[in-house]
């Protein structure tokens, strides 16, 4: 569903590589966690996968289509939820969802049904008449999630989706993510919360300084240790190597 091949991103020609030769393959039915420190290159990678950021080298394919060459076709089957959803604050929640429905060409009866279902799941139905400006961070996050699901995407790309969510909404989102992938969808998301990644993900990738440290099935990556231990070991090893060099 999402293939990242030798993806390299350099913000300026003479600057350092924000992401260096990253290759990942997210298949349908998989929840793929993307772990790393702040500034490791997670958001840079995620934005490139969504067509928000151009990249220097490599290729990103969504369902076999290049995000560079066929961005519109790719975007039709995917959804992106950023870590800090700056939504249209001047719109009410329902107008924002209707706007998203218009852009993705979702039939009105279908959008009504989906809004009713997902907004109810996220507990924001009552607030849909209010302006987005009056929403809390968590409510904006929930609205962004409902909007992302409006067109029944095949691939969900999420940047720190659990930040700002209350426990109930986080639980519902995790449940939804599992159901979504069990029904053939694919999810690629970044997180700092290792416990969530450990419990939720089928596969993970750990990135540091733009370089991939490890990836694969969660059991393979962690072995007999906890994900937290593996993560810290990998990161510290690299740090030690760097210091040694």
């Amino acid at each position: 569903m999402l293939q990242i091949n030798h993806y390299t991103k350099q913000y300026s020609a003479d600057g350092p590589k924000a992401v260096d030769d990253l290759s990942l393959h997210i298949k349908p039915g998989e929840i793929y966690g993307f772990l790393g420190h702040n500034g490791a290159g997670k958001t840079t990678t995620i934005k490139a996968c969504c067509g928000l950021l151009d990249f220097t080298e490599g290729e990103i394919l969504v369902n076999g289509m290049s995000i560079k060459k066929q961005p519109l076709e790719c975007k039709k089957i995917m959804s992106y939820i950023p870590d800090n959803p700056d939504l249209y604050e001047f719109m009410s929640g329902i107008r924002y969802l209707n706007f998203v429905g218009d852009v993705y060409g979702v039939p009105t009866d279908m959008r009504e049904k989906r809004i009713a279902e997902f907004a109810n799941d996220m507990g924001i139905t009552d607030a849909l008449a209010e302006k987005v400006a009056s929403y809390s961070h968590g409510m904006k996050q929930k609205l962004a999630i409902v909007a992302a699901l409006m067109h029944d995407p095949k691939l969900l790309i999420m940047d720190e989706p659990f930040v700002g969510l209350d426990p109930k909404a986080a639980f519902i989102l995790k449940k939804f993510m599992r159901t979504f992938c069990d029904n053939g969808g694919a999810i690629f998301f970044s997180t700092h919360v290792l416990e969530v990644a450990e419990k939720l993900c089928d596969k993970i990738a750990i990135i540091k300084g733009g370089k991939l440290l490890a990836d694969g099935d969660i059991e393979t990556v962690r072995g007999n240790e906890s994900l937290e231990e593996v993560f810290l070991e990998l990161v510290d090893d690299i740090k030690a190597e760097e210091e040694h060099a």
């Binding site: 969504c50 067509g51 928000l52 950021l53 151009d54 961005p71 519109l72 076709e73 790719c74 975007k75 039709k76 959804s79 992106y80 950023p82 700056d86 939504l87 249209y88 001047f90 719109m91 929640g93 329902i94 107008r95 209707n98 706007f99 998203v100 429905g101 218009d102 852009v103 993705y104 060409g105 039939p107 009105t108 959008r111 009504e112 809004i115 009713a116 139905t125 009552d126 607030a127 849909l128 008449a129 209010e130 009056s134």
Partner: protein, 542 residues
């Protein structure tokens, strides 16, 4: 602590004025230096302007021994200007500042926070007052053979005292606006109404100051000065203090300025936490599911941009100024239409077909006002932090840009058509080519203005504005389409009357201009769908 807060506030104010939020220190210093030079030029311009306009009045007042009135009028103008320009600023920085809660969580006293906020309002107010009082001092000096150094010192002292009064009133009005918006939950409506009232007042004052105003004023200056003395005693005291170095009057004036300021400051500092942390009292609306209505992508984009426009009073009043002026012009034409038309006819009766000339001139005038509408000129910049939404959606740049174009045109074209209809109704000059021209020329210029603004904002607009209001107020976004359209409108009119008059019929010329502008519009519109526009759109936010 107050010094740090005040310094931060003034630096933020300077950044706001210069449009800089970050950059090298040297670049910032050079911009500040430029700002100071600009300030000095404005001061010189004001001195010359006030002297030219009020010189005669000053002489008459001096003959009657009422020079104080010159300072009084300048003070009144400075007071009103300061109030008009800083009311919403005061509301924003004092009562709705986003960092109020952050600062309150730090070991800083509320009175220090308030003092820094009120200090920045006072600073702005004192700039306006200083310029006008200095201009008054210069006028008196130029017309009466010079004033003493003591008078100049008193001008400065009063320019520091009077802003205390305007700051007091600004703070009280800002508190009132905040209170009403909080109670009603209708922030946009309250701010829009207030902005429109302020603009309408400014418009009426501008229209009222016609060519007869100054001579009438000069003739009855003495009576006005007496009325002034009775009804605006603080400014009378100030004028007398400066003009006659009357220390008693200075003491009275100082007390009038300082005491209300101290009281308001004391009350606000005592209730600052309660005011800035108060919640919106408006009842929350509960969503009731209703049938949704779908739209095409372009129309959905248009509706989105229109909603953004109507949700932001600063966006409406800055970018939609042309609409307001066009409506104002229409009302003015309705009220005093006959005299306007007569006036134009008097000026054009030396031509063979005065009706045709007035029609073409009116078409140019309506087109000129169209130039002041800059909705599309900042429509890309206002996306700002929301840009990710459009860029993550399967939507072409052409659809996004067409939506932005339409959001400008659906407002601008009906207003210009209304102006044309009312003009025709008032003028009663109905020739078929003239009628067609009256409608088509403003539409062509409106399209030009919208397209030019949109394309220039796409290519040169910044995206890092912290809010819609800041993007809408950006000088580059607004000035580029305004200047381009004004130059084109005035250039086309001047070209005819300087080079082509007598060689080509005026109506034919108007039609040619309209056709050329439409052709340019078509080229610019086709650019919106080009790979160049798509590429530029893709580059945004990279």
């Amino acid at each position: 602590m107050l010094k740090i807060l005040l310094k931060n506030r003034l630096l933020a104010l300077a950044d706001q004025l210069t449009g800089q939020s970050k950059g090298k220190k040297a670049a910032k210093l050079s911009t500040y230096a430029l700002l100071i030079v600009l300030g000095i030029l404005i001061l010189i311009g004001c001195c010359a302007g006030v002297n030219a306009l009020f010189g005669n009045i000053c002489v008459r007042l001096a003959q009657r021994g009422e020079v104080w009135a010159v300072y009084g009028f300048a003070g009144a103008a400075g007071f009103l200007l300061a109030l008009f320009l800083t009311l919403f600023y005061a509301q924003g920085v004092i009562f709705e500042a986003k960092d109020n809660e952050l600062l309150l969580s730090m070991p800083i006293s509320p009175s220090a926070i308030l003092a820094s906020r009120v200090g920045s309002v006072y600073f702005l107010n004192s700039l306006f007052t200083l310029v006008l009082l200095c201009a008054a001092g210069y006028t008196v000096s130029a017309q009466t053979g010079g004033i003493g150094i003591l008078n100049w010192i008193l001008v400065i002292v009063c320019a520091l005292l009077l802003p205390l009064l305007s700051t007091t009133v600004s703070c009280l009005l800002a508190w009132l606006v905040s209170y009403i918006t909080r109670r009603t939950g209708r922030k946009v409506l309250v701010q829009t109404i207030l902005s429109l009232v302020a603009i309408a007042a400014l418009f009426l004052v501008t229209m009222g100051v016609n060519r007869n105003f100054f001579s009438t004023f000069a003739e009855s200056a003495g009576d006005i000065a007496q009325a002034f003395r009775r009804s605006l005693y603080p400014l009378y005291a100030m004028g007398l203090a400066i003009a006659e170095t009357n220390w008693g009057m200075l003491a009275i004036f100082a007390a009038i300025c300082i005491v209300p300021f101290a009281i308001v400051y004391y009350v606000l500092s005592r209730s600052f936490i309660r005011i800035v942390t108060a919640r919106n009292a408006a009842k929350k609306q509960k969503y009731e599911a209703t049938a949704l209505k779908g739209s095409s992508v372009v129309w959905s984009m248009t509706k989105k941009d229109l909603t953004r426009f109507f949700s932001s009073p600063p966006y409406m009043t800055n970018a939609g100024l042309g609409l307001l002026y066009s409506i104002g012009l229409t009302i003015f034409a309705m009220v005093s239409g006959d005299s306007v038309i007569r006036n134009i006819l008097e000026k054009t009766d030396r031509f063979s077909d005065p009706g045709a000339y007035t029609t073409v001139i009116a078409a140019f005038v309506i087109s000129f006002f169209a130039a002041l509408t800059t909705i599309s000129g900042c429509s890309v910049s206002v996306e700002g932090k929301n840009l990710w939404i459009l860029k993550s959606m399967p939507v072409r740049a052409k659809d996004v840009l067409t939506g932005k174009l339409l959001s400008h045109l659906v407002l601008a074209i009906p207003v210009s058509v209304l102006c044309s209809i009312l003009y025709l109704f008032v003028a009663r000059i109905l020739t078929v080519p003239g009628v067609i021209l009256m409608f088509l020329m403003p539409i062509a210029f409106n399209c030009f203005n919208a397209l030019f603004g949109l394309i220039s904002n796409l290519h040169f607009g910044k995206l890092d504005y912290p809010s819609i209001a800041k993007a809408a107020k950006s000088t580059t976004s607004s000035l580029i389409p305004i200047l381009a359209t004004i130059l084109l409108v005035i250039g086309s009119a001047v070209l005819y009357f300087t080079a082509l008059h007598g060689k080509i019929d005026v109506t034919v010329y108007g039609i040619i201009v309209t056709a050329v502008i439409f052709a340019v519009d078509l080229c610019m519109f086709s650019y919106l769908g080009s790979t160049g526009a798509q590429k530029r759109w893709d580059e945004l936010g990279q």
